[in-house]
């Protein structure tokens, strides 16, 4: 049985607001993913705040989008130990943002790395124990990049990850699908719905095999 459902710690009985942090590298589409979550949460009558940093960070730098929802949401940002769902579009960014994850939080990681410039030019090195550390922190890894590529739309990595995230949140699948259909460019609706489904199924399958 899935360990990630409506009774998951992600919804936290101790706090009334759920915090989702989407992190990645500028250009990976965290903003669209955040929008899809926000639209879906609002379908359930919840209040939502979506916070993102624009400007210089977008040029291939580390980026984060924070989505908070609940009956009432105060601050649009969050702190270490307060994030219910951390969705990392890239593995190094998962480690960088790990401090934000709540002790009972859920961590989804796209099993892919993008080398920062300092690594590319050889002045620093990639961390060696990425997978071990993510595993030790209960990360649910999925190769969203490969899934997106297999579906013929490499740019839909973000929506594959939204599919994964959807498993941890209590919203009806149809609301997610409506959000996608209304938000992405008309020509890409089918491809993005397929990406969503693939991400969702991948997590459900791995969870089932674990459980």
């Amino acid at each position: 049985m899935s360990g990630l459902d409506a009774t998951s710690p992600a919804l936290g009985s101790t706090h009334s607001t759920t915090t989702v942090l989407l992190c990645g590298v500028g250009g990976q589409g965290t903003i669209l993913a955040g929008d899809l979550l926000a639209i879906t949460a609002r379908k359930s009558g919840l209040s939502v705040k979506v916070s993102e940093v624009h400007g210089m960070a977008q040029r291939g730098g580390a980026v984060t989008t924070i989505v908070r929802f609940g009956t009432e949401v105060a601050s649009p940002i969050t702190d270490h130990g307060c994030v219910d769902c951390l969705v990392a579009f890239e593995a190094i960014e998962a480690l960088r943002n790990l401090p934000y994850l709540a002790s009972d939080g859920v961590l989804f990681v796209n099993d892919a790395t993008i080398e920062p410039l300092s690594v590319l030019v050889g002045t620093t090195e990639m961390p060696t124990g990425i997978h071990a550390e993510l595993a030790a922190n209960g990360a649910r890894m999925l190769d969203a990049s490969a899934i997106a590529a297999r579906l013929g739309n490499p740019k839909s990595v973000n929506v594959v990850l939204v599919g994964a995230l959807s498993v941890a949140l209590p919203f009806p699948t149809s609301d997610w699908e409506d959000a996608i259909a209304n938000r992405v460019p008309p020509k890409t609706v089918e491809a993005n719905l397929a990406a969503f489904k693939a991400g969702r199924m991948t997590v459900q399958e791995t969870t089932a095999s674990l459980g």
């Binding site: 649009p76 270490h80 480690l95 401090p99 410039l117 590319l120």
Partner: protein, 588 residues
């Protein structure tokens, strides 16, 4: 339930539109940019980018003189540029309502400093409203026009990153048509010669008294009584962080940050056992509340930080609430600062400036990233236009100590305030080299049009600026235009300019790769030919890396756009088009 999720920026635009605002004008700057972009898309309005913030505010002053409502938008440092008209408009007041959105950047996410625009409100004596979410941003934009009309004064709305760039629910309304006020000649109001200015200055005092009375009464300044043991004064995004961190605390939420309401502050102080001020980056309220003779307590556990953005956790910690347990990575995580894009037309220019060990005075834009390793090609970045004036100053100090002095400035920044800097250098017989990086757009803020490319905000017809003719007309004799994607042209152009004893201007013209999305097939590295010399990697392309085992280069085919910058740097012809033979396809 509210209707739509809007950014604070979009909500200000919506509120201004609903208030019948007819004209929007501004200069792009993070985090303010989307305000005018959103306004420009609304029906029945006129909107334009100005070359700089001073011009923007002056255009709006003219709209006001002409009897219509206007919205002006800029980031915090832009307000420095607009400060000249700002202070005098506090004296003239308005005819048509005038509202200025200024977006601050506490935490310095995308700016060169952390100044707090509330100080401008107090210094110029212009009322300032501070929304705490998008719904308030909309209503405050409408209220701001009412205040502007009622009190005969421009009104500022202060936003910050977390207001401007947070989407929160907003219930939108419809537009109220506000007619044009009829023209009445009123030199005593609008001609700020001393005799008139002196009279208006006395009026300003009367107006301040009226505004204080307004601030005392308005529910924009709201006392929320909860637990009386702790009272907190705050505004803007900080209000939301306080509600998150200390949900039981009583709060005086200040929606008007100038002028303050002394009676309301004293009343609130009397209602709570201990009064605290929570604000980020600058003690604006703190100093003023203390000056009212009201005791402000320090947070019991530790003071709030003097700089940077506040978060609920930082506030909670100051008030003795322990942070929840959290994990940290034991790995050494490489930093990931932003970088020039693959194929960026600025890259080879910086690689060449580094090669000749130039002293480079830089400017504000994407090309500030030329300072980041491995290019590390900039010596200074201070403010818009400073590259050219500072290069002149370096020459006055004796030059670059053997290093050629080169100023580097983008097209939009040159139009913003580089032209007057260059005029100053010409006029005073300065030397050195100025490179105008004309990438055909205002790139960093999201590809806005500007006077150089001749693209306007609402896509009205315009004309491109002829940079060569302009620079010649300013009196520069040595002017050249080169393709910065061509390494040989950059190298030779720079060599000739540096050797020329006169002031030289090189215009490097090639479109931003986010503007021109054209891609050529990705290149590849012939591993047999690559000698692992590292030259190609040193230009800092995100699509190009060095193998940690062999030191040889490799290309990420997903990121590479086939620009051939690296191939031109390779002396061994190792970087090739995958489909071509090893010896071919690398020349350009």
């Amino acid at each position: 339930m509210a209707d739509v999720l809007l950014q604070g920026n979009e909500a200000v635009a919506q509120g201004a539109w609903e208030a019948g605002c007819a004209v929007g004008v501004g200069y792009p700057g993070t985090p303010s940019t989307e305000t005018l972009e959103a306004f420009a898309k609304l029906p029945d309005v006129y909107a334009e980018w100005a070359p700089n913030e001073k011009v923007a505010l002056e255009v709006a002053a003219g709209v006001s003189l002409g009897g219509k409502r206007s919205l002006v938008t800029m980031k915090h440092v832009g307000l420095n540029v607009a400060a000249d008209p700002l202070f005098s408009l506090a004296n003239t007041g308005v005819t048509g309502g005038l509202v200025l959105l200024v977006a601050d950047d506490p935490g310095i996410f995308s700016s060169q400093n952390e100044q707090d625009s509330r100080n401008y409100a107090a210094a110029a004596r212009i009322p300032m409203l501070e929304p705490s979410d998008s719904a308030e941003a909309r209503t405050m934009a409408m209220t701001a026009f009412d205040i502007s009309d009622r009190f005969d004064i421009p009104v500022m709305i202060r936003s910050s990153v977390r207001i401007s760039h947070t989407r929160t629910p907003v219930a939108c309304g419809s537009r109220v048509e506000v007619g044009r006020k009829p023209y009445v000649k009123d030199a005593g109001k609008w001609v700020m010669m001393p005799a008139n200015a002196q009279r208006r200055r006395v009026d300003a005092d009367t107006r301040e008294d009226a505004l204080v009375a307004f601030a005392e009464k308005t529910d924009l300044n709201r006392i929320e009584m909860r637990d009386p043991s702790m009272g907190i004064i705050c505004s803007g995004a900080d209000y939301q962080h306080v509600r998150e961190a200390l949900p039981r605390a009583s709060v005086l939420k200040l929606g008007v940050s100038w002028p303050l309401p002394p009676e309301k502050v004293r009343a609130f102080s009397g209602m709570v056992d201990a009064l605290y001020v929570v604000e980020e980056a600058y003690p604006y309220f703190d100093l003023r509340v203390r000056a009212m003779g009201v005791d402000v307590s320090l947070p019991p556990t530790r003071p709030l930080p003097r700089n940077g953005e506040l978060t609920p956790g930082i506030i909670a910690a100051s008030f003795g609430i322990e942070a929840p347990a959290h994990r940290t990575s034991t790995q050494s995580i490489p930093a990931r600062p932003p970088a020039l894009c693959a194929g960026c037309p600025h890259r080879l220019v910086f690689a060449e400036l580094r090669r000749v060990h130039a002293l480079v005075t830089g400017d504000i834009g994407c090309y500030t990233l030329g300072a980041v390793p491995p290019l590390s090609a900039l010596d200074s970045t201070v403010d818009m236009g400073a590259s050219i004036s500072m290069a002149h100053g370096v020459e006055l100090a004796g030059g670059g100590d053997g290093h050629p002095v080169v100023a580097v400035i983008g097209d939009s920044t040159f139009a913003h305030s580089g032209i007057t800097s260059l005029l100053g250098t010409v006029y005073n017989q300065g030397e050195g080299t100025v490179i105008i990086l004309d990438n055909r757009t205002t790139a960093m803020t999201g590809q806005q049009g500007n006077p150089v490319n001749g693209i306007t905000l609402q896509h009205r017809p315009s004309r491109e600026l002829d940079l060569v003719r302009l620079v010649r007309a300013l009196g520069v004799e040595d002017v050249s235009t080169i393709d910065p994607q061509n390494l040989k042209a950059v190298r030779e152009g720079l060599k000739a300019a540096v050797a020329d004893p006169r002031l030289s201007v090189i215009i490097c013209r090639s479109p931003c790769r986010l503007l021109d999305r054209h891609r050529e097939p990705a290149l590849a590295v012939d591993q047999e030919v690559c000698t692992a010399c590292g030259v190609c990697v040193s230009i800092g392309c995100p699509a190009l890396g060095k193998s940690s085992d062999t030191g040889k280069a490799h290309i990420n085919a997903l990121q590479c756009i086939g620009c051939h910058q690296c191939a031109q740097e390779c002396a061994f012809g190792a970087i090739i088009e995958p489909s071509t033979a090893t010896e071919e396809g690398v020349s350009r």
